[in-house]
Amino acid sequence: MAASKKASKKTTKKKRPEQSKMDAKTIQSIDSTAKMVHGKIIKLDKPELKLPQRSLANVSYDRRVGHFKLGRIRKARALTVNTVKSFAQTLKLMAFSKEMVQEDDFATKREAYYVSKNWGDAKFREQPESDAVMDDIEALFSLEGLSREHLRFYPEEHGGAVAGELTVIDRDEETGKPIEIDCTGFGSGAYSIPHSVEHLKFKTGAKFILAIETGGMFQRLNKHRFWRDSKCILVETMGVPTRATRRFIRMLSDSVKIPVYAFVDCDPYGISNIYRTLKVGSGNAAHLNQFFCVPKASFLGVTPQDIIDFKLQDATHPLADVDIKRAKDALKNDPFFKAHVRWQKAIQQLLKMGVRAEQQALAKWGLNFVIEEYLPRKLKQTGKFLP
């Protein structure tokens, strides 16, 4: 065990910063969970960990809160053949998490997986196993308002790019001193959202945030300084937004209280995966959603109606089978779309037309049609955006 401790200890020799309030809460939560288990064992009771079940069956959509919420279904980890291994692994991973909080370190999912290789029989064979246990712990502590980042498990992928009238206040990793980053000053490049955004603070004069699906569109809007003319912040989501991107947008919109508009392709993937995940979170990670969704987001485009309004019919492609299946699935099973009649109508309209249109389809009317015509026209009627 001593060996495992040494192995998992990171060798960075930075000064240990004061534990933040959240760190103290994290440690306290881990401790109380462990004490509960230990107490039962000492009293010769069957020890048990009850973890929220992470699945669509245990998710409800609350319109007022604006995101998916975990239900009351719990799964037990105890001394049974099926659960004892993950029971041990859950506790080991919690111990690892506590150690990282105390050392002010972090581990990516992949790193955590490799750390387990030193656990003997309890090691994870494949990363999906460690990811699942990690998600379980995350779900458990999300009930106490802690996210995975608080537990010091950081996602592998960083966030998307950000450009516009925004100053991000980060801190120096060595000295801990605040650093101000001006997102207008990256020239033809852009600010990249870090893996963990919990410590960031913001200053901005922008009026809204525009989340853009494709890198191409982001480049175009950035190059032509769209953010300056329309006083906004551009965020590139690169497909389905990563945790960091979602958290960044959420924190930003919360702290400066400005709306978020999504600008994605007009197809079932853009609507039900990218936008839905951005706004209310995803079904199989429902425990995350309270942190990783942007309830304030609304759907700028491209809407099915836009295809008609902007005469894009001849710039479309027919819906593929997977698209149709995804759309029908969204109508039938997705609590979010089921709760919004306007969305149902929009998706039905899309299905009826049987086509999809990409953001780039607007280039049919000229490369900068989107800047000169489309976006200004849409932004005049933000009230009509789909919810």
């Binding site: 065990m1 401790k5 881990i30 401790d31 462990a34 004490k35 288990v37 230990h38 064992i41 000492i42 010769l44 009771d45 069957k46 020890p47 001394l79 049974t80 053949v81 004892v84 291994k85 029971f87 041990a88 692994q89 506790l91 080991k92 919690m94 111990a95 506590k98 150690e99 656990w119 003997g120 029989d121 309890a122």
Partner: protein, 577 residues
């Protein structure tokens, strides 16, 4: 040794000749002229001995290896029969030694503590085929025909030229006798030398020595295995054995109870055949048919006799000797149509469930023993009784559930030599050991009714695997015993039992009875093994839980150890079995 007698079925096609004690063979004589007369000149009597000299395979002397075994088997059978009839707990000493200076020649010596043999009978018993006490009575015994030991002696004489040597003493006051007996194969008569001897240290008993050509082997169908099997089915017998390689073995007896004394019974009318019925009618001293039926058969009273007579439309006062051929037919039919009570079963003595288990326990190391004895039944008028025993599981292969909820592997016992282990391996076919009247049957297993019954029983239902049409697979020995006044062997060498429907049915019922108990055990064993595996798996992770808690809560090492201990206890207590 008291045995020797005559064979039944083999001579059915031959004409029986004289008297009760002797059944020689008369050559058929032809009455036709010419060629027939020329042929007649060559036709002469064949002695039984000559017949068997040429057909020794019929008696189990076909190969040197088998001859050695058959010789021991016949001598042991005789000794045990004699001891039991005299109500003496048998103690036998068997020895096989190489005869110095001669290749493949062995001296087989069997000594018992039986009643001994009176002087006048010794030459006949050992020097005359088909001489003995057991053929003419209906009573359960090992020997049936009276061929065995004299045939062994004859085989020895044929292959070595040496006579059979017999020592015998009938009591502490009697003078011990020593005989050297040879068989005159042409006449089926003994020639002998009688010498006075002093045989110290033996109050009564018999010792036989035969020199014969043989092949000594270990393993399957060896003398050693035969004796081991004898010990299984005869837990009251004490055996010592020394082999040519100097190995000494002792098979201890585990009970002082001799097998129940059996009664001699009269034949049952339903088992009688036409020819025998004719002969019985002819030989009878009774003057009335009704009385003949009542006196010569078991289970026939005045009422039954009357009913048989009236069904056959014969007068119950008809003289038995005058009943003509056609009338015998009618009589036989009438007997078969009449309902007659089953024959008395006091004539058979099963080993009994308790002693089967004792016998198996003493010779087969296993985890689980079960036995079942059926009540007696009847085939063709002969009462018989079937019993079976099962020894299952190599020690140490199965789990035991302790009272405090712990599961452990049952203790391993010491390993025996592989050729001494009767139990098959888990992936092998089971071992089937067959007995007829307590005598192990070593050859022709596949032709035997017992084998057929085992194969046609569905062992899958009892948790064993069983390839279609063959014996089940598993670490198991099945012993099956058929006790009867007349065991229907398929040949004179007494190697396989004929498959009568009644016998097969009883065998299957008996095996199923054992199988059900075995099934319960196997299923329990499987559940236990499964649970053991699960607990082991869970226990792998207990230290990790302890470690994780130690890391989080900064427990001291003793505290951690206590946690781990508590977890193990919780695991054992919480899992219901």
């Amino acid at each position: 040794m008291t045995d020797a007698a005559e064979s039944g079925s083999l001579f059915d096609h031959l004409e029986a000749s004289t008297g009760r004690e002797r059944k020689g063979m008369a050559a058929k004589t032809s009455k036709s002229k010419g060629a027939a007369e020329r042929m007649a000149a060559k036709q002469r009597e064949i002695s039984v001995s000559e017949f068997f000299t040429k057909n020794r395979h019929l008696l189990g002397f076909d190969s040197p290896r088998k001859a050695l075994l058959t010789c021991v088997k016949e001598a042991v059978d005789n000794s045990l029969d004699a001891c039991e009839e005299a109500r003496i707990l048998p103690e036998l000493a068997i020895s096989i030694q190489k005869l110095a200076g001669r290749e493949n020649i062995y001296t087989v010596s069997i000594e018992d503590n039986g009643p001994g043999i009176v002087k006048a009978q010794i030459p006949n018993i050992f020097g005359k085929l088909l001489y003995g006490s057991k053929f003419h009575r209906l009573r359960q015994s090992r020997g049936q025909q009276g061929i065995g030991i004299s045939a062994a002696g004859m085989y020895g004489q044929l292959t070595t030229g040496n006579p059979v040597r017999i020592w015998s003493r009938t009591g502490s006051r009697a003078i011990p006798h020593y005989f050297e007996v040879r068989i005159d194969t042409a006449k089926n008569k003994p020639t002998y030398e009688d010498k006075a001897t002093d045989w110290d240290g033996k109050k009564h008993g018999t010792k036989v020595e035969i020199d014969l050509e043989g092949e000594f082997r270990r393993g399957q169908r060896s003398v050693q295995e035969f004796l081991k099997l004898v010990a299984v089915a005869n837990p009251h017998v004490h055996l010592t054995y020394s082999d040519p390689e100097g190995q000494e073995l002792i098979f201890e007896s585990v009970t002082k109870d001799l097998p129940k004394e059996t009664d001699e019974i009269k034949p049952h009318p339903h088992g009688v055949e036409l020819g025998i019925l004719m002969k019985m009618l002819h030989d009878s001293e009774q003057r009335w048919l009704s009385l003949f039926l009542q006196r010569e058969f078991s289970r026939v009273g005045p009422k039954v006799a009357k009913s048989i007579c009236s069904t056959a439309k014969l007068s119950d006062r008809a003289h038995p000797k005058r009943i003509a051929r056609s009338e015998v037919d009618k009589l036989k039919k009438a007997i078969d149509q009449t309902k007659i009570m089953a024959p008395p079963t006091s004539c058979i003595a099963p080993i009994g469930e308790k002693l089967i288990i004792k016998g198996l326990e003493k010779e087969v190391e296993a985890d689980f023993y079960v036995a079942s004895t059926r009540s007696p039944s009847v085939y063709r008028g002969h009462p018989f009784q079937v019993e079976a025993g099962i020894a299952y599981g190599k020690p140490g292969d199965t789990m035991e559930l302790l009272e405090d909820g712990k599961i452990i592997k049952s203790a391993k016992k010491k390993k025996k030599r592989p050729d001494e282990v009767l139990l098959a391996d888990a992936n092998e076919q089971i071992r089937l050991i067959r007995y007829a009247n307590r005598v192990p049957l070593l050859y022709q297993q596949s032709a035997c009714a017992i084998n057929k019954a085992v194969v046609s029983t569905n062992w899958r239902g009892y948790g064993l695997s069983q390839p279609r049409g063959s014996l089940p697979v598993g670490p198991m020995v099945i012993m099956v015993h058929i006790a009867s006044v007349w065991v229907p062997f398929t040949s004179e060498s007494k190697e396989a039992i004929a498959a009568y429907d009644e016998i097969i049915k009883e065998l299957k019922l008996c095996l199923q009875e054992c199988g059900r108990k075995l099934g319960t055990h196997i299923r329990k064993g499987k559940r236990l093994a499964n649970e053991f595996k699960k607990r082991n798996y869970i226990e792998t992770y207990i230290p990790h839980i302890g470690q994780a808690l130690q890391e989080i809560l900064h427990l001291s090492d003793p505290q951690t150890n206590k946690t781990v201990k508590c977890l193990t206890t919780v695991l054992e207590k919480s899992r219901k079995f």
